[in-house]
Amino acid sequence: MNKKTAHELNNLLVNKKISSVELTKAVLDRIDKTEGKVQAYVTVTREDALKQAKAADSRISELPDTRIPLLTGIPIAIKDNMCTKGVLTTCSSKILANYIPPYNATVVEKIKAAGAVIVGKANMDEFAMGSSTENSGLHPTYNPWDLERVPGGSSGGSAAAVAANECILATGSDTGGSIRQPASFCGVVGFKPTYGRVSRYGLIAFASSLDQIGPLTKDVTDTAILMNVLVGYDPKDSTSVNQPVPDYQKALIDNVKNLKIGYIKELLGQGIDQEVKASIEQAMKKLEELGAKLIEVSMPSFEHAVATYYLIAPAEASSNLARYDGVKFGHRSKEAKDLLTMYYNTRREGFGAEVKRRIMLGTYALSAGYYDAYYLKALKVRTLIKQDFDRAFMKYDVLLSPTAPSIAFKFGEKTADPLAMYISDIATIPINLAGLPAISLPCGFSKKAPIGLQIIGRAFDEETVLRAAFTYEQNTDWHKQIPEL
């Protein structure tokens, strides 16, 4: 039963065909059987999960069927950069290896209020910096489709746990593609909502003008259901927007007749693997058969998106990560004879190579004499990227591209050359710079590894993205494929 989706399981739970305790035990058994191979989790909260499952079962027996929230009793994994009160939250970093948050992130509060059962905290690239989960300071995660390949990142643990049926759904965070790219690599659905849609209170900050929380699920319907739980204004996050929140399940319409879809020329040319390109072109043909109008659109500024992102994101990170100083929480070096050596040694011992690299890069881009040439220049190019999107959305309802230029790569393939790793984010980064909503959903395979289709929408128009994705999904069966493990 752990292979089923949340909406299928909700039906079984409400009709008392299964209990949440049975379901949660099935998920925990699955974790026991597969974690040796996949290592998707940093922490499994076995006892607490069973307690929550019992509570969910009594809620189901007490409430009238129509008033039981859809996620009641459904096992969920939380990315380990979201604070869980009383439960270890490491951000997959040695510097937070013993951190027990005194409060819940707003999304965790919402997930608990919705009755979902938290089964554990999912592994990630340290501080969400990476595209393969190889940068986890704790251990790597393996792709359930091919254990020699990476699961993507930074939400690699979340994506792998969903793909391996070690949970029913999961949360992720996306700064430059960290939900969508692992979803693509693991053959699941991943959605980054518009910047400001979801509260980030309790999300450990990486790059504050880019970070956004979203769902990783087995199908588009589950994504809409989890979106309904996650979104909304939060006075505790001053960047969350006070806008009316639609019912995303109502956006699940199997119809794309006359929908104008722009496919991005620059993301179907040089640097994109042939098999990926072929799958995307098949998906485009499918959408055309279903009545959508597909037109090529050029986004000339995308050429500069990776460089822009890798100045802005590290600059913001260097500032956000200044708080890890060994004073109030987290690791403190034993070599701390005065304040300065405490800072130097705590940060030297606590941070991994990629985090150090980005702190260095960001500090440099912000430092006196280089601010205008690097950081300010990048902010201006960000405007050009946003203008390309504005122009495109005057003509098209959604835009389409591959989520990643390749299928999941093998371990070690890109670790020696940071730039090679950065460039693999080319298709997802522009969306974060412009703050837009975008989904990745399965659209094919190459060498038995999944390929992801990305659909991008206007700011705050998650509904059209969901409609296009739902229509494609209902008329294909890529999302029903399950890895053999």
Binding site: I100, L311, S318, R382
Partner: protein, 95 residues
């Protein structure tokens, strides 16, 4: 644009980041390559372009400055690397 070992040492100091000799060598090489790559932005004409710091319009949000009691002092202090009498203990900062 090549950056030197001295640049790397200076930036590490600004970031309060202790680095080993090997890391300084490695970052000198890698940061030079990344900044070279980022140098491509210089070709773009952005004379009349305003910078975007947030994709969605944002404004400062202020709240009333009000004293409230902290409910979970114990949980917060439990994370302290060193604690004494409900205070964070740090190395001596004044001689």
């Amino acid at each position: 644009m090549a950056i030197t070992k001295k640049d790397v040492e200076h930036v590490a100091k600004l970031a309060r980041l202790g680095l080993s000799e090997e890391e300084i060598e490695l970052f000198t090489r890698q940061l030079s390559a990344i900044l070279d790559f980022a140098g491509s932005l210089q070709k773009l004409d952005t004379k009349n372009i305003l910078p975007t710091s947030h994709a969605i319009p944002m404004k400062n949000v202020l709240r009333e400055d009000k004293v409230v009691t902290c409910q979970n002092t114990e949980d917060i202090l439990a994370n302290a690397p060193a604690e004494e009498d409900h205070m964070f203990r740090v190395p001596r900062i004044i001689e």
